[in-house]
Subunit: 367 residues, 2 copies
Amino acid sequence: MTTEDFPSASQATLTIDLDNIIDNYKSCIKLGRGVDCAAMIKADAYGMGIAQVAPALFHGAGCTTFFVANLQEAIELRPLVPEANIYVLNGLFPGHLEYFSRHNIRPVLNDLEQIRLWASVTPENRPACAIHFDTGINRLGLTPEETAQFITDDSLREKLHISLIMSHLSCSDDPENPMNTQQLRDFKTITGYFPGIPASLANSGGILLGPDYHFDLLRPGLLLFGGNPAALPLPETIKPVFQITGQILQIRTLTPGQAVGYGATWIADKPCHIATINIGYADGYLQKFNNCGWVYAKATKLPVVGRVSMDMITVDVTDIEINAGDDIELFGEHITLEMAAEVSTLSQYEILTGVGARYQRIYKMKN
Amino acid sequence: MTTEDFPSASQATLTIDLDNIIDNYKSCIKLGRGVDCAAMIKADAYGMGIAQVAPALFHGAGCTTFFVANLQEAIELRPLVPEANIYVLNGLFPGHLEYFSRHNIRPVLNDLEQIRLWASVTPENRPACAIHFDTGINRLGLTPEETAQFITDDSLREKLHISLIMSHLSCSDDPENPMNTQQLRDFKTITGYFPGIPASLANSGGILLGPDYHFDLLRPGLLLFGGNPAALPLPETIKPVFQITGQILQIRTLTPGQAVGYGATWIADKPCHIATINIGYADGYLQKFNNCGWVYAKATKLPVVGRVSMDMITVDVTDIEINAGDDIELFGEHITLEMAAEVSTLSQYEILTGVGARYQRIYKMKN
């Protein structure tokens, strides 16, 4: 949406701190004790804006490898970071080959058919590729049967320039889950067949599982954006990266018995002041926050009351002095992704990627 | 996201049927027995694209009055429908006045302060305005006390060109709710003080409540976009307006005991085929569909199994013959908004406005 010729006052704002994204990337490298580190920036950099996040990570943090979900995202990313390695996770499809070649994009090959398709391209037109081995998530990647077949097919392997072998953990959010050690063991076995080729297993959760899981390349996503991928305390070096601020449209004084919002789901039990804020579910603040969300203003946490509307929420501001036009924090330093996910039962990932398009966006970076 | 120089094959697609939106608008007029009808097109026309929907309704259906949530949406809308009446629901704020004047946009005035602010503008620079009376939702609009004050303040009223008086129903989804008749009664009383000025009470739910609620202008939103606003059967003349189609990235054969997806929340109890589809929660297909969503292909409803990922879902396709690359319907004729809302506990509104930005968009219109 255009911001040309528009008054920025009284407009809900999404502020993204690129310095903190850079710092979180550097913290991942420290957690990996120096292991090389890529960045997952699919889904518009988890909703934070690939056009700003990718160059910041490349120039500001020295990140040279990026993963996106599909070819279109990769084509959009290429001019933003012309020198970087770009991998497409969802694989290779007939009709897409020339695009990978032309834009120097690396496919993550997910089955033998894709591998054979890529091997059929003239070598000089063919960037390097990654091979994805499925060790248990059963989503994408070579099955154990295909893996066994590929490992022994020297003629097929020799045709390819494999720059990475990888697998994906299914339960890294739960450090005690036996799936982790099983996937680790199976992936280790596979790496033994690919000496000299970098290997990668650790998403954000895998990074926190410790050095056994780190191999040669980390692939953090949520950690870069300040979320906590696991049922463990978030490392203190990981910082929040975004803030959403709305404004009060109106404040009403309610008497006991009066209801608020659609469905009249909240009823005042004492005299109170209810502020209506200019952010709603169309902005990604979903109805799972009905009567349970929290916002922040004047050093006070304030409860969301009633149902979230498409373009508004209502908040009990009885305990503070505040006026129409004043700012309210919906997410940020005081209302973290973890807190919001807990009350709403949405995932931190969904809250990030669900951030809407109507906000005025401000990117902060020191240099 | 650009679609330039990109292969459209194997890309998830959002198809929007503008003819059906036009037909739904005409059906609303029929439900209103000829009462004038506006269109709610806030939040990018409920996610369907204001740039396409607004001109289609103006030129294809004769709709001349549009409501949006905020000033920025109105400024974006103005060049799309230069002759239309545009109302901004969230009110008037200091610093915004000249924008309303310059773009010929009508504010919906929500309190006495906003009314006085608008009255202070030189009349020749001042478009018409709406006055919003709160009859019980306690969100925006003049309180009963302000209403009583405004009604008797002839000098203030005479300064304004009021083109509409309105109120908003809080429980129109529930025809039996006594809030409806109370709000109707209170709004009727208010209209008595504004003879000759058009009045509007009915959102989509209000339209279905019957003629008593229709007054002079209907304000449908969800009905235009094929959703059902109430706990009543949807009128047969209201048609679905969008379809989301994904493609199969890969199909795996699972043996009993094998798990699918993050957290291994779904485990095969017999041999089965699981297809991975290129749409995930970053596209608006949220994790509330984990292990309970339905998709459609080859004349068969297919269950979503396992957790929804950021860029993918997994679906049990054991019962049909289907291949990688084939299309799967996530929403459309066979998977309606009502069905999806019921299984996911998301609202139909949220599913619509949550539709993501990564789809290839196709707009259908006969002329």
